[in-house]
Symmetry: C2
Subunit: 397 residues, 2 copies
């Protein structure tokens, strides 16, 4: 595959027009959309409207007239199709960490007879940390690693569809079936899959995810929580804030949960962050997800092929078995990545030695992949990473 | 006091120049700054910078280069003087509801020998709801009303400095001393006082508050959590997310809390909402708080005097015993408030029968108070609230 062939693939790409909907700096191949998605062109104006036309003009009236109050549910309904859910099943707000706590705590209360929480030590750390915090708070719970494969005494299993480090993908239906057969509840974290493939958590009990990666809703955009309708009546939100109350503005002294998924709302929604999410969802409404997955697999395969034996592949070699990212191992991974970024190819580094490259099919093309691989091969071949400027660690890697 | 005298007071007001720093709709007297503060003029540009110049240009690099990663602490340090705290004692993020949960849970773990949580049933509901959720999750705890006045077996006392409904103000030092004498820990909620008076929670164990009321950081702006340095080593964040980890980007499998108040950070900060907070803090850095409190007391007293016997005062008659709001009771409070808003005087209604008027000294003047009182008296005198348009309840009151 040469660069001209890649340009030909770009010219025939049915998703090609979406690239123009994003702001991408000149001279950069941005392969970190799996960490922070790029800025949609429409977002700046949508956020400006919220600040100036809504807050500035309507002031507190914006809670009614600009729809702020309803946002956790209206945004949830718009997002639901991306995870195989229906209306009234997803609430948006807070962070993934908080949503993990809510989902796992709710699952424990639905299975009070069991005292084991299964979590994956290779999970994105915050999921595992939140479970540790919850178990420590409650006392009497065992936190067991998913790799042990024993669920028959577990109350709940928490797992990421796509591993943040390796990009390895779990099969959601089969894992969910195994967990349910063992009598446990299933909580999926879809942070690293939503927006990169057809996600379907409708068989699970709960799911959590963030909107700032492939969904492009901006730094610190709100997270989401899916609750299967079969649990809507019984599931409890232990973070029982006023926005999950049946009548928040009745100012009752006792907590009384709202009907449906709304009970999992907590405090006042971060309205400016919701504005950027809404702009991102305006794009997603027009995206054919089957084409996203097809292109994603083609892009990651192309990158794997082009890099070849120059680096040790950490991700599954089979495109169907991974998400939209490719990870390699290198003993000097940190300076290698800094050297790459210095040359306009943006990936990221995950301790201790992993180079990650995420391929967001809406704005990454085949020629981008070609150029990124060429630059990576040059950095490795000429050992350009040995420059001492690349040794200094930044706060966020 | 006539309108000319009010105009003379405005002309001599040392805070008068601040009004020009806010966007206020023409023809509106906005007395809801105690619910959602007005938009500072500088905010739109600051948010635009974050969206376009930071996210759009730096992409994921913004976590390092635009300071996003450090924001929970840098914003906390800027906010600290407003609550009598020092650097490294305040972390910003999440919502007040979440911060209440963190503070009360941490307090319980610092006093494991006691099983009583004291909370005020008249507190803003979410505080009390979060305590109920936490107590329900843990089991074995009594939630006792503050009015019972018994703390000698309490682990923690949670109280608002200013009552959201009546505006009545507790004396922070004397209540804190009583609680500490009884061997309990003290958590203050300063949502309804911060930015309206000199707040000083430095004697307390924890404090929580929001930034979207008098601080003017916008709808759903992040909350804050103060932790007294004497607890920094021992206090546990039960919502143990990765941003509170000692090394978030080491991606360790075990949670290891950061030193200091940073351990109370949870998930990824809502960066767009932080941008608006930073713009608001740019204003507060120049505000003399003693003049804010003096003007606040003068404004609330003027309003009470002008309304006179036309309505039943719910707030304390002594300005020193209340916050920066005045509340009245009226059996038809809801349509009265709707009629007022229709005439450009914005207050709010709190069930079942309370009319609230908040006076933000940075952008409310004496003539504004005069005009608001005159309109209120007209609405009552002519029974303008009987118009059927004012009967329909909106979602947010």
């Amino acid at each position: 595959m040469d660069r001209d062939q890649c340009l030909a693939l770009d010219a025939n790409d049915p998703l090609r027009a979406f690239k123009d909907e994003f702001v991408l700096p000149e001279g950069v191949v941005y392969l970190v959309g799996n960490s922070l998605g790029a800025l949609p062109r429409r977002t700046a104006e949508r956020v400006r409207q919220t600040v100036e036309d809504e807050w500035g003009s309507q002031l507190v009236g914006g809670w009614n007239h600009a729809g702020w109050y309803a946002q956790p549910l209206t945004a949830g309904d718009r997002l639901a199709p991306l995870i195989g859910a229906g209306p009234g099943q997803v609430v948006v707000g807070n962070t993934t960490s908080i949503a993990v706590f809510q989902a796992v705590a709710a699952a424990l209360r639905l299975r009070p007879d069991r005292r084991v929480i299964v979590s994956d030590v290779r999970n994105f750390p915050t999921d595992h940390y939140m479970v540790q915090g919850l178990a420590g708070l409650l006392g009497g719970y065992e936190v067991r690693d998913f790799a042990q494969g024993r669920f028959d005494d577990a109350a709940v299993v928490l797992l990421s569809e796509v591993d943040y480090r390796t990009g390895a993908r779990h099969d959601v239906p089969s894992v969910t079936a195994r967990v349910h057969e063992a009598g446990a509840l299933m909580v999926w974290d879809v942070c690293h899959s939503v927006g990169a493939m057809d996600v379907d958590v409708s068989g699970a009990d709960f799911a959590v995810g963030c909107t700032y990666k492939y969904l492009n809703a901006g730094p610190g955009a709100p997270a989401f929580l899916y609750v299967n309708p079969r649990h809507h009546a019984a599931a409890e939100n232990v973070l029982s804030g006023w926005h999950g109350h049946a009548e928040p503005f009745a100012f009752e002294t006792g907590y009384r949960p709202a009907e449906g998924v709304r009970r999992f709302a907590v405090g006042t929604p971060h309205v400016l962050s919701f504005a950027a999410l809404e702009a991102a969802l305006d794009v997603w409404e027009r995206v054919p997800m089957d084409q996203v997955r097809a292109k994603s697999m083609a892009l990651t395969s192309l990158f794997v092929d082009l890099v070849g034996d120059a680096l040790q592949l950490v991700s599954p070699a089979d495109a169907a078995a991974r998400g939209s990212q490719v990870s390699f191992r290198h003993p000097h991974g940190y300076p290698v990545m800094r050297a790459l970024i210095d040359r306009g190819v943006h990936g990221d580094f995950r301790a201790p030695d992993v180079l990650r490259f995420g391929f967001a099919p809406l704005y990454i093309g085949y020629a981008d992949v070609y150029d990124a691989a060429a630059t990576l091969l040059e950095v490795l071949d000429k050992e350009l990473w040995r420059d001492e400027r690349y040794a200094t660690r930044l706060a966020v890697t």
